[in-house]
């Protein structure tokens, strides 16, 4: 079990990063010119509300003291109040996590469902027409703007064919899934372009590896060698690639949520920017950053679980 000891110690290494995240989000909002109390509460704030937030965040004190107030508020789960939605930021964000999480999950699952077969076709016919076609398509796919691709899919599957809803999220599980298919596909098509390239390289290396040669020597068919030995080994680095790209993936969901009117965190961020709801912007940025750190940690655990040789 000592291979998993990093699970206990790795979180300690996160402390400097978490500290940095808090400093950056703190500084971001304090850089806005003007009276911070008015910036946080909006132009129509009452004098009593202004006085209260000055006291709560120590806005009359020096910058380092303000940062300590900020940390103290954060520790008690206090991230301020949204001027647009008139509720606290933390519960507001909590209601928006589900659509974004569901979108990212849907995107990752669909992209694996697309990337694995295409990478397999490509790797097993290396240098031939099918391989060239997959390589061209995946190079092309990296350049697809998610927001535009979403609109094209809406035009195709919702407007022309009428198969899937145009936008929104729905109430029941079935409704939610049907509303997530097109946004998920939008995210997946961009992501699968990246995954296919990496998986193809991993599979080609695997086909020529000692493991595969040994399996062939034991009399396994080429199909069995490929699917039992080559593919699982090629998937290990893909987990890491997904984790490294999680920030990029989350960024992509911001545009996709806007196109499909999904009530997720990305939409909350964009609305917050337009309405100068800085507490919301700060809260969403911080939540996304902490989520990214967590995903990378989880990816480390999965990598160790999948590959007995890896030690962290």
């Amino acid at each position: 079990m000592h291979r998993y000891r990093f699970v206990l110690f790795r979180p300690l290494q996160f402390l400097p990063v978490l500290f940095g995240i808090s400093v950056i989000t703190f500084v971001l909002v304090r850089l806005i010119p003007g009276d911070p109390a008015r910036i946080l509460l909006g132009t129509r704030a009452t004098p009593t509300a202004l006085a209260r937030i000055r006291a709560q965040y120590g806005l009359d004190e020096p910058m380092w003291a303000q940062y300590l107030y900020f940390l103290k508020n954060l520790a008690s789960g206090e991230m301020g109040r949204s001027t647009l939605y008139k509720i606290d930021v933390l519960p507001l964000i909590a209601t928006r996590i589900e659509p974004t999480l569901a979108l990212v999950t849907m995107g990752v699952l669909l992209s694996l469902a697309i990337a694995v077969p295409f990478a397999a076709i490509s790797a097993r016919r290396q240098g031939r027409a099918a391989d060239q076609a997959v390589r061209v398509v995946s190079t092309l796919g990296i350049g697809f703007p998610p927001f535009w691709l979403g609109l094209v899919l809406i035009l195709l599957f919702s407007v022309t064919l009428g198969w899937l809803p145009v936008s929104g999220y729905g109430e029941t599980l079935g409704e939610k899934i049907s509303h997530l298919i097109l946004p998920g596909l939008t995210v997946a098509l961009s992501l699968s372009a990246v995954l296919t390239r990496s998986l193809r390289a991993g599979m080609i290396a695997g086909i020529h590896s000692d493991v595969a040669t040994a399996a062939r020597a034991r009399g396994l068919s080429e199909n069995a060698v490929f699917w039992r030995h080559v593919v699982p080994n090629a998937l290990v680095p893909t987990v890491n690639l997904l984790a490294v790209n999680i920030g990029w993936l989350i960024g992509g969901t911001v545009g996709v949520e806007s196109v499909f009117a999904l009530p997720g965190m990305g939409q909350l961020l964009v609305r917050g920017i337009f309405s100068r709801d800085y507490m919301v912007v700060q809260g969403v940025a911080m939540t996304f950053a902490v989520a990214t750190v967590l995903v990378n940690f989880l990816a480390d655990i999965v990598t160790v679980a999948l590959d007995p040789r890896v030690k962290l």
Binding site: P16, V17, G20, I21, V23, I24, T25, L28, V29, L31, I32, T139, L140, I142, G143, F144, P145, P146, F147, W148, L149, L151, V152, I154, L155, V159, I246, G247, W248, L249, I250, G251, G252, V254, G255, S258, V259, L269, V270, G272, I273, F274, R276, Y278, V281, Q282, V284, A285, F288, A289, T292, V293
Partner: protein, 275 residues
């Protein structure tokens, strides 16, 4: 390196197609006033939402503007986004990476921790947060890009410098008594640049997509300027009746991005760089 770039493009289809695509967009951008058939922002109420025809190959939008002319003029802004959005981060990142890799110690540790923190934020989220503070616009986009984008270049260059500075030619330069600045910028940096040159191309794709996405969200280039992301956003309301307003600017983004990707892959092969 220059010799490698001068190699004939025959039997190198990626290099040929990639360069041709970029050249085509560059010409469209430079010659926009002469080759665009119509004024990109002149409105004409009598030809609103016309489908593609001989007079208007890409159709017209809800203000009666010619979509083809707007796509051509859009090349000016979107190429500028891709070039400047890469240039500033490249310069800052290269400087930081060279210094951090060469001097090591606390300078290196400080920058590496800063990079860890910036990388913890999803790229677009941090960009949007900075733009939220600076206010919407292309200038804000470039500033945000410079503040966030340099980290990848710094990491790439630093890793190269760390390897290069222990090699014989660097040690020789040192024993000849050359100044540290000279060793850093004349000996180490030129050798470290090959890898980041390939990365520049794939980064240009991401910068282009980000710039268009931010403009699509209404936080970058502002209407009535013809920029492809703005055009997609303007066409969204008419997607059911006038698909051409949305389709063509998106295809322009895909094609330009394809050009950058192909050139990046070709350069990677030529220079023997693995991504």
């Amino acid at each position: 390196m220059i010799a490698a770039l001068g190699l004939p493009v025959r039997r190198r289809p990626m290099l040929a197609i990639g360069s041709a695509l970029l050249l085509a967009f560059l010409l469209a951008a430079l010659l926009a006033p002469w080759i665009a058939p119509f004024d990109p922002i002149a409105q004409d109420g009598s030809i609103r939402l016309h489908p593609p025809s001989l007079a208007h190959p890409f159709g017209t939008d809800n203000f009666g503007r010619d979509v083809l002319s707007r796509v051509i003029w859009g090349a000016r802004i979107d190429l500028q986004i891709a070039v400047l959005g890469v240039l500033f981060p490249f310069l800052i990142g290269t400087a930081v990476g060279t210094l951090a890799g060469f001097f090591g110690g606390w300078i290196d540790a400080l920058f590496m921790r800063l990079i860890d923190v910036i990388l913890a934020f999803p790229f677009l989220v941090l960009m949007l947060s900075i733009i939220a503070i600076l206010g919407p616009g292309l200038t804000s986009f470039y500033i945000a890009m410079a503040l966030v984008g340099w980290v990848s270049y710094a990491r790439l260059i630093r890793a190269q410098i760390l390897v290069l500075k222990t090699q014989d030619f660097a040690v020789a330069a040192q024993s000849l008594g050359f100044s540290r600045t000279r060793i850093m910028f004349r000996h180490l940096l030129p050798n470290a640049l090959a890898g980041s040159l390939v990365f520049v191309m794939s980064d240009a794709v991401l910068v282009l997509l980000n710039g268009a996405a931010i403009s699509y969200l209404g936080l970058g280039v502002q209407p009535p300027l013809a920029e492809w992301g703005v055009m997609v956003a303007e066409g969204q309301a008419f997607i059911t009746t006038a698909w051409w307003i949305t389709l063509f600017p998106g295809l322009a983004i895909v094609t330009l991005a394809f050009g950058f990707s192909l050139l990046g892959d070709a350069l990677g092969d030529l220079l023997g760089v693995k991504e």
